[in-house]
Symmetry: C2
């Protein structure tokens, strides 16, 4: 799986399959969601309601950066902490997130968009 996620060997030339090689798990699109909502820091992602485990978060941030969907920069003068932002490629996922959100809103009673 790491090979295809890193942009190597493909399962097929289907654009959905290639997308899922990068995005196809329970967590990655939640990090993209958080970034689209303006979150940028490790602690902010951790604080989201789903309680993403730290090892999964670190892995997904690394994979997303390798795949060119996010970029990172240090913030603070004496800090090794990073701020993450979506690249154009990552921002391009907004329509897919909206479509999944709309489907979820219609199918799972009691769900709502975070305020």
């Amino acid at each position: 799986m790491q090979v295809s996620r890193a942009g190597g060997e493909r399962r097929s030339n289907c654009p959905v399959a290639c997308s899922l090689d990068v995005l196809g798990d329970r967590w990655t699109l939640l990090v993209i969601r958080d970034l689209l909502q303006g979150k940028s820091r490790y602690g902010e992602f951790l604080a989201s309601a789903e309680g993403i485990p730290t090892n999964i978060l670190a892995d997904r941030l690394k994979r997303l950066e390798e795949a060119g969907l996010i970029s990172s920069s240090q913030y603070g003068t004496h800090s090794r902490r990073k701020a993450y932002t979506l690249t154009k490629k990552g921002e391009g996922l907004a329509p897919a997130l909206r479509a999944l959100r709309d489907w979820g809103l219609s199918q799972f009673p009691g769900t709502h968009v975070p305020v």
Copy 2:
């Protein structure tokens, strides 16, 4: 994971998170893709270019039926073989699939929509 996929405990009330509890892996949306393209039989899903393993396919069909996204019926008079179709709920994923397809087409050179 089985609990949330089966519609039980939620990670949050975010519609994207609830959607990913059902759809968040590398294979499930490929089965939905195949169904949207008119495939309906086990052997047709197996024949798709990605080469889904039989145990994963059987598991995903079971989960999708439990989640109400597909329904199955026997076909043939002396056969236990099943034909699968999308329910309204499953058909509602068409916009999300289109959005993922469009993102993939724009990001992965050489990908194309199956003919």
